[in-house]
């Protein structure tokens, strides 16, 4: 092992990991918005909406992310005749992909809430939307935090796939360094190390948030 070489490239990889984090955060944010909408459509009881949501979820969970990235960056621009920007394609692909997983997380979260909650809310005269917003979703969101954390970590790792469209994140940066210094082991162990640092930091953060929320539940609070 050339430890001096590792010490040399680590700063550059760390810098690239910022883009990895940004891609992931942008992706999961889009994913949460889309996932929320899709999960609500799915359970709305309105057939068309629920079918559209199901088709979306099935497609994006049933095809490889790599193929989705290729479709968004190469296929769609040909069909609709526009010039894609790699980083935008990357974020969109990650967002739409994670939206499908988040939709299932939220759906499971919503369905885990006792039926009596919706009934109590409706019996007070709340609309379905109000009951969702004030009663069901806050509770569902809380139970969704651990799986959302897992999804965040999975997406962070999957974001390495956008390297095929040359977004200069962590994975691509590793490859670029490889092009100039073929020190295979040093480079890829370093890249792995940084992914590991990122994912474990997120895991710790999620754990912390989870515990904070539990305390909030049983602690005293004024209105």
């Amino acid at each position: 092992m050339r430890w001096d070489f590792i010490a040399d490239i680590l700063p550059r990889l760390f810098k690239a990991s910022i883009l990895t984090l940004e891609l992931t955060i942008a992706g999961i944010s889009i994913g949460i918005v889309i996932g929320l909408i899709a999960s609500l459509m799915r359970i709305s009881g309105i057939k068309v909406l629920s079918a559209v949501a199901k088709a979306y979820v099935d497609f994006f969970r049933g095809t490889p992310l790599l193929v989705q990235i290729a479709i968004i960056h190469y296929a769609l621009p040909v069909i609709f005749n526009y010039t894609p920007v790699a980083i935008v394609s990357g974020v969109i692909a990650l967002g739409i992909n994670s939206g499908a997983y988040v939709a299932e997380i939220f759906r499971a979260g919503i369905q885990s809430i006792d039926k009596g909650q919706m009934e109590a809310a409706r019996s007070l005269g709340m609309t379905w939307g109000q009951a969702m917003r004030y009663i069901i979703l806050p509770q569902a969101f809380k139970v969704s935090i651990p799986p959302l954390g897992n999804e965040f970590i999975a997406l962070l790792k999957d974001s390495s796939l956008v390297s095929i469209i040359a977004v200069e994140e962590l994975m691509t940066t590793g490859r670029l360094i490889m092009g100039r210094y073929p020190l295979v082991a040093e480079i890829w162990f370093s890249v792995a190390l940084i992914y590991l640092i990122l994912t474990s930091t997120i895991a710790i953060l999620v754990n912390f948030v989870e515990r904070r929320l539990q305390i909030g539940d049983s602690g005293q609070r004024s209105v």
């Binding site: 009596g116 109590a120 005269g125 109000q130 539940d217 209105v223």
Partner: protein, 240 residues
């Protein structure tokens, strides 16, 4: 206040309500008794359309509950419901549980909602629990908060579905006391209950439901002491 005509309810092939007719007057307290699975909950839940009646007509306070033009949310504002398993909102404090519907549904200001909630918490004797979350309350306390939550909408009718069945025996009394107070104040109440003492003391009328039919009804004295129908007598002999 409540008029029910030819109410039928089916779950798939299972017919649960088989032509119910009844008329409940303002300020009347009607207790519904009957074996498990006879359709008591289903009847109550049809009244505020938590269950969709298969056919028949329900009119509450001169407004048809059934019918396409009805805004069910408006009717539910006038019909409070108390559930066997309380169904308090676990992520909200006792006070917030009570304040939510007045604020979001009745569009009261936070200050007004807080006043209503404080008043009702005092009424059910739980002022000191205002900031407690449901999981910090005993079953009896939770059910009293649930009653206060329903009352916060200032309903004209209150429906109770076995409000004390999930409670430890020693806290049943505190819930019944609150309900009795309501009755004395003139609330129109429909109470599904196995508390025969309550039905006898507070009920104006007792209805015996069996297998989807209202088999017999009368004053508590008529039902408990002089039931005409054999099945009513059989049921009562089992639980009294």
């Amino acid at each position: 206040m409540i008029v029910v005509k030819d109410l039928y309810k089916k779950f798939g092939d299972l017919e649960v309500l088989k032509g119910i007719n009844c008329h409940i007057k303002e300020q009347e307290v009607v207790c519904i008794i009957g074996p498990s699975g006879s359709g008591k909950s289903t009847f109550l839940r049809c009244l505020n359309r938590l269950e969709e009646p298969t056919s028949g007509e329900i009119i509450i306070d001169n407004i048809p509950v059934t019918g396409d033009k009805t805004d069910i949310n408006l009717i539910r504002q006038e019909v409070g419901m108390v559930f066997q398993r309380f169904n308090l909102f676990p992520h909200l404090t006792a006070l917030e549980n009570i304040m939510l519907a007045p604020m979001k549904v009745r569009k009261k200001s936070k200050k007004e909602a807080m006043e209503i909630a404080e008043e009702l918490l005092a009424k059910v004797g739980l002022t000191d629990k205002r900031n407690s979350y449901p999981e910090q309350l005993s079953g009896g306390q939770q059910q009293r908060v649930a009653i206060a939550r329903a009352l916060a909408m200032r309903p004209k009718v209150m429906l109770f579905d076995e409000p004390t069945s999930a409670l430890d025996p020693e806290v049943v009394g505190e819930v019944l006391t609150v309900m009795k107070t309501l009755a004395i104040e003139g609330m129109t109440m429909v109470v599904v209950t196995h508390e025969m003492g309550f039905a006898r003391e507070v009920g104006d009328r007792v209805i015996f439901i069996d297998d989807g039919y209202f088999l017999e009804e009368g004053t508590p004295d008529e039902i408990f002491n002089n039931a005409k129908n054999e099945r009513t007598r059989a049921f009562l002999s089992k639980i009294l």
